[in-house]
């Protein structure tokens, strides 16, 4: 009786891991083949300019609120930041030339930070770009004007309206 028992123990002693490993290897290879699933996507919200049905009403509302109208022109030469306040103080326009072939997003971010300090409630920006500007540079501009920090925290001007020069 005891001999029979010890035989059973010996037979079930070691687990055969080979089939399990086969399954694992196949799963890993399958997942690596479909590698696009790795990419984590994000979205940036934007809108196109809208025409107000009543111009007079729209102007009055703007003047009453004394809102900041922040316009950023994106041209082949670089950025032109044009902040203005209806009926408010004159704000200086800033020209941010390209750094060689590349746009200077860091300076644009710093400029956005300055304006945000003056108008903490404002979140809107109008980006007006030349037709031949690359889409990547538009996204870069939106990024620079949205992020207060390089890591993407604390949004500055996340409400973007796009327009063409």
């Amino acid at each position: 009786m005891s001999k029979k028992h010890s035989d059973l123990d010996q037979e079930g002693g070691e687990l055969n891991l080979v089939p399990y490993l086969d399954v694992m290897v196949n799963l890993v290879i399958f997942m690596l083949m479909n590698i696009t699933g790795f990419l984590a996507f994000t979205v940036l919200n934007a809108s196109v300019p809208q025409i107000s049905p009543n111009v007079q009403e729209a102007r009055e509302t703007l003047e009453k609120k004394k809102e900041l109208l922040l316009m950023v022109r994106v041209t082949n030469e670089g950025f032109l930041v044009e902040p203005s306040v209806q009926g408010g103080p004159n704000l200086m326009k800033t020209n941010i030339p390209k750094n060689g072939e590349l746009f200077n997003f860091e300076l644009l971010r710093a400029q956005g930070k300055n304006l945000k300090a003056q108008f903490p409630q404002e979140t809107k920006v109008l980006i007006i770009a030349q037709p031949l500007i690359r889409y990547e540079d538009i996204i870069g501009t939106m990024d620079a004007l949205r992020d207060n920090e390089a890591d993407g925290d604390n949004a500055m001007f996340p409400d973007v309206t796009l327009s063409v020069l």
């Binding site: 891991l17 080979v18 890993v28 997942m31 696009t36 990419l39 979205v43």
Partner: protein, 191 residues
């Protein structure tokens, strides 16, 4: 104990004596698979976690994504893809939904669209407008059946080198069809 009746130990000792080092291979231990299994499990868990991290799956061979430091995750909406333009061998395309090619953007079509935008300030692409109108009508009917409002969200995925005038045409056309809440899709910068 007779010469032909060895115990296993005696037999091994005798062989070892005869063959020297060659006997080592016979007594080699089994490969330990546990460490490999651990590694496989960790890789598998990591891959599964990465999969679940993104609700959006995009499959466009001729498209390079833009990158952004934004962290807002995309939600399910109508997808509109604009693939790389300017290559004669593989002209760009506008793809709607899962995989419905709407328009081939060869050099002739691009020229006509560009002229339309620059000379007439007309930013509507007729073929795209027609396809988007159909989608908008369907979405409105579905929303109505579910007692919801049609919200008009659209995911725009464009190649990073696309010219702005073409992107604007796509945006204006979709706004014209009722999809005026754009979500511009990018890859997170730390990827």
């Amino acid at each position: 104990m007779s010469a032909g009746n060895f115990s296993v130990h005696q037999w091994r000792a005798r062989i070892k004596k005869r063959r020297g080092k060659a006997f080592q291979s016979v007594t080699m231990k089994e490969i330990n698979l546990v460490a490999m299994m651990d590694m496989m499990t960790i890789i598998l868990v990591f891959l599964l976690k990465s999969y679940s991290g993104s609700a959006l799956s995009l499959d466009a061979p001729n498209l390079q994504y833009t990158t952004s430091s934004n962290t807002v995750a995309p939600e399910e909406a109508l997808k509109l893809m604009l693939t790389k333009v300017g290559d004669e061998k593989t002209p760009g395309e506008i793809i709607l939904g899962e995989n419905e090619p709407v328009l081939k953007l060869d050099s002739r079509k691009l020229e006509s669209l560009k002229a339309q935008a620059q000379n007439q300030r007309n930013y509507i692409i007729p073929e795209l407008k027609m396809a988007l109108d159909t989608k908008a009508n369907n979405a409105r009917e579905i929303a109505k059946a579910q007692n919801k409002n049609f919200e008009g969200y659209i995911l725009i995925v464009a190649d990073k080198d696309s010219p702005y005038w073409l992107v604007t045409q796509v945006l204006m056309t979709s706004a014209n069809s009722g999809f005026d809440k754009y979500n511009l899709v990018s890859i997170k910068k730390d990827q």
